[in-house]
Symmetry: C2
Subunit: 295 residues, 2 copies
Amino acid sequence: MHYERVGMELRQLKYFLAVAEELNFARAAERLHMTQPPLTVAIRKLEEELGVKVFERTTRRVQLTEAGERFRERAEKIVLDVAAAKQDAADASDGRVGRLRVGFVSSASYALLPHGVRQFRADHPRVELELVPAASGEQVEALLEGRLDVGILRDPERVPGLELTPLVQESLVAVLPADHPLAASREIAPAELARFPLVLFSYPLMPGYVGRVLEAFEGGPRLNVVQQAVHQETVLGLVAAGVGCSVLPASVGDALLPGVVVRPLSGAPLTRLVAARGAKGSALGLRFIEALTAS
Amino acid sequence: MHYERVGMELRQLKYFLAVAEELNFARAAERLHMTQPPLTVAIRKLEEELGVKVFERTTRRVQLTEAGERFRERAEKIVLDVAAAKQDAADASDGRVGRLRVGFVSSASYALLPHGVRQFRADHPRVELELVPAASGEQVEALLEGRLDVGILRDPERVPGLELTPLVQESLVAVLPADHPLAASREIAPAELARFPLVLFSYPLMPGYVGRVLEAFEGGPRLNVVQQAVHQETVLGLVAAGVGCSVLPASVGDALLPGVVVRPLSGAPLTRLVAARGAKGSALGLRFIEALTAS
DNA sequence: TAAAAATACTCCATAGGTATTTTAT
DNA sequence: ATAAAATACCTATGGAGTATTTTTA
């Protein structure tokens, strides 16, 4: 403290409220588990601090001044707000309240995400859940910068500072216009597919996943990529429009457009949906990932 | 303090906010005009008090936990609320903000009150003015019990604990139905009027005023009071309906009903509007009375 | 190894206690 | 005369300072 101006303290507000309620210093002191003289002193200090008399007092009667009346209302609210802030901090640290920003790739939005979200919401009704659709690459960046708490990505590359939890794995399938020559085959070899125009995801946005797809085509002819897309929905639209074929996770079968067919892609690697948490590692993030894996 | 649990203090909240903003104990301490070690200790105490870690810290990086983020928002608001409460108390004690409950008799509501209220509102825009119509007797009671701050009464009796300020004085007039036999006279003697049925105010509600009226009739025949009323408007209505005649302050001329006429009452005493303040004597009450007399 | 947080200690300002005086009814 | 607030004075808790150690990137 020393020579610094010290300022009002919550203790003084509580003392003031006790006196305002009892309108009697001795009784208020008793209620505060202290004696009367220091209470008198504390109120005088408060009044000096405010520059305003809050009580009109003689040795026989204590009553609030008008300024005191107004100050009382505000002081009551402040003391309650402090208690609420305390409670809220405890709730937040136990994961009963809070905010969780979850990124997800579009292919997670069919079964995995809705189920997990429903489960999590039931367990954490006072947690605000913010769902942000984003490509894997964008999510990695956002997680590292703390703009997301959890991400659901496809085939992310290992990055220091991200903790990964595999969720589901599935095969890759060829996606073709219904009238495509290869649509007659029950199964398609990558080398055959590679002879046709292709629609793929943009590499920088989904480096891991696109890497898998390129792996499937390894050793074959040079690819003819006529279009790069950002969303699975766009890829499907382009295929339906006959722009080209593509390679997508098998779960795309749950969301097919008319005029588009899928065929197994022989010898292709598997693709994985993976949950990622920033190194900071929020407790709520863990709970969310648990809700996803509990499905 | 001794063995009592002490609780959170505003100082701790301010320290917390400084650290939350700087994310660096030494810089926050500097901003708070103190040194780093006691700041570290104060934050640890806050965390003990909350039962929650608000900062995730190593010697290299300080960052808010999720609970800390939430606590920060509330703490900011609390600190601002305290400053606002302080300001408000100062404003209230200087009469810039506040509440003023003013009682008034109906006969004040024609010229005196509207003008005074307009003036006062212009001078005190942030003061909430509550206008309560009430008879003089009721106002005396309310002022003594602190339910009103100021009253505008007619001919109040001197009461210990009330400070009176005369506002205006006026004569008494006879109020008659237009077709009344006495309506032909230019001026009416009380003794004549006393021969007809009368409508008067209720004595207990307006003891001073009714006393004046009875004084006017003193020495004449016994009065025939067919109705006692509470409001001036009611009296006028009853006169218009032919129930009887009455005696009212001359200013009733500003608010006459059709079918009602007024005539001077010869030799009648004067009646006074008087402002009254409770002994407590609020500064705002004085200002209001000044606004009334400044007209 | 360097920057920053944590620890150890010292000191004194002040919250709170006890005893007493003042004041208003 | 009495109850209650104000004053005087004392004690000791704990907030803040200085010096130093520990930690991690």
